[in-house]
């Protein structure tokens, strides 16, 4: 009876994308990563990007760069620079999904985004496991979807979870909040994981163990 308090746990929100989202998440999580979303059609201006990330680190501590692109080569370019930020790639395009995993970025977010399938299979799951690339399960696409789209997203996420589980792929659950209205508490994000098929310890690990292991790369 009674649920244990989670205060002794250490929960990490891996992806919020605005100051107001960061502030609210910071009340509910032990650590929050601020994500700079970067839509790339060609190489960015490296100097100004580096400068922007430096400033964000000053404001928010831990910072991730989310690359949204159609060009696999741009992922490799960003990967090669030492930007002192986690590198996430927005999933959805199968070539990008695969390339991000093969290039060993820190996380591939929502490989099912905008697709009519999970965008993820056992071949990609094996690559992700080998390269140690985490799969990010985001709440926000669900929040912004119609009921029909919510059904499809939940199906694809549940399917991806079965592969992630079977091949022991690193993963995390995140709000991916653009605004504060998309932020949710750790325990509520866990309920998403549980309904995707995770056991309670697996859901917890998706907000605790796995994120912390990824964060430790930043501290090196």
């Amino acid at each position: 009876m009674g649920e244990v308090s989670f205060s002794r746990d250490h929960f990490v929100e891996m992806d919020v994308r605005s100051g107001e989202a960061y502030d609210l998440a910071n009340e509910w999580f032990d650590e929050v990563v601020f994500t700079k979303k970067l839509v790339l059609e060609e190489s960015p201006d490296w100097a100004s990007l580096r400068e922007e990330l430096r400033e964000l680190r000053g404001s928010y501590g831990r910072v991730a760069l989310l690359v949204v692109t159609k060009k696999p080569s741009l992922i490799r370019e960003v990967r090669k620079r030492n930007l002192n930020a986690l590198l996430y790639v927005q999933g959805g395009d199968m070539r990008i999904n695969r390339f991000a995993l093969e290039n060993g970025v820190d996380a591939l977010l929502n490989p099912w985004l905008g697709r009519k399938d999970p965008g993820f299979d056992h071949v990609l799951a094996r690559i992700a496991a080998r390269k140690g690339v985490a799969i990010g399960f985001s709440l926000s696409p669900l929040l912004n979807a119609s009921p029909y789209e919510r059904v499809q997203l939940l199906r694809f996420m549940a399917k991806a979870w079965r592969l992630v589980d079977k091949y022991s792929v690193p993963r995390f659950i995140t709000s991916s909040a653009e605004t504060r209205w998309e932020v949710r508490s750790p325990r509520d994000l866990m309920s998403l994981g549980i309904n995707l098929g995770m056991g309670m310890p697996q859901a917890k690990a998706s907000l605790n163990f796995h994120p912390r292991r990824i964060l430790s790369r930043l501290e090196k």
Binding site: M94, D121, H122, Y148, V151, A158, L163, K166, N195
Partner: protein
């Protein structure tokens, strides 16, 4: 480079059942109306989460005989059948869904439950 995920290995494949159904209505219905009615029935009775689990998938509807096929997850056949049972209208016109039978393969489903409606 491939643009679609690979078909999953046997242990990760979804286990489906095919359901043959008949629509009795106060007028004939078009395929798209029936498809939408099935989705609405699922969302209303099973909700977003229950529908994500039941994975209803409209396959076919023969407008002439008023019969069709829908696919659902094996573990949620009865829940989905209730969803169809609770339908009272399609696109504003009175209608009944009657399930004719269930099978693990389309071929057997057609043979056992749909040949009398002219399916081959």
């Amino acid at each position: 480079m491939r643009e679609k995920p690979k078909y999953p290995p046997p242990t990760l494949r979804d286990k489906h059942r095919y359901i043959a159904f008949q629509v009795i209505g106060e007028r004939p219905f078009r395929k798209d109306e029936v498809k939408r009615a099935i989705w609405e029935a699922s969302l209303s009775t099973l909700g977003v989460l229950g529908s994500a689990r039941a994975k209803p998938w409209f396959i076919k509807f023969d407008e002439k005989s008023g019969t069709g096929i829908v696919r659902v997850d094996r573990k949620h056949v009865e829940e989905f059948r209730l969803a169809l049972t609770l339908v009272t209208d399609i696109n504003g016109s009175r209608a009944i869904f009657r399930t004719l039978g269930v099978s693990g393969t389309m071929k057997r489903l057609k043979k056992k439950f749909l040949t009398e409606y002219g399916w081959r």
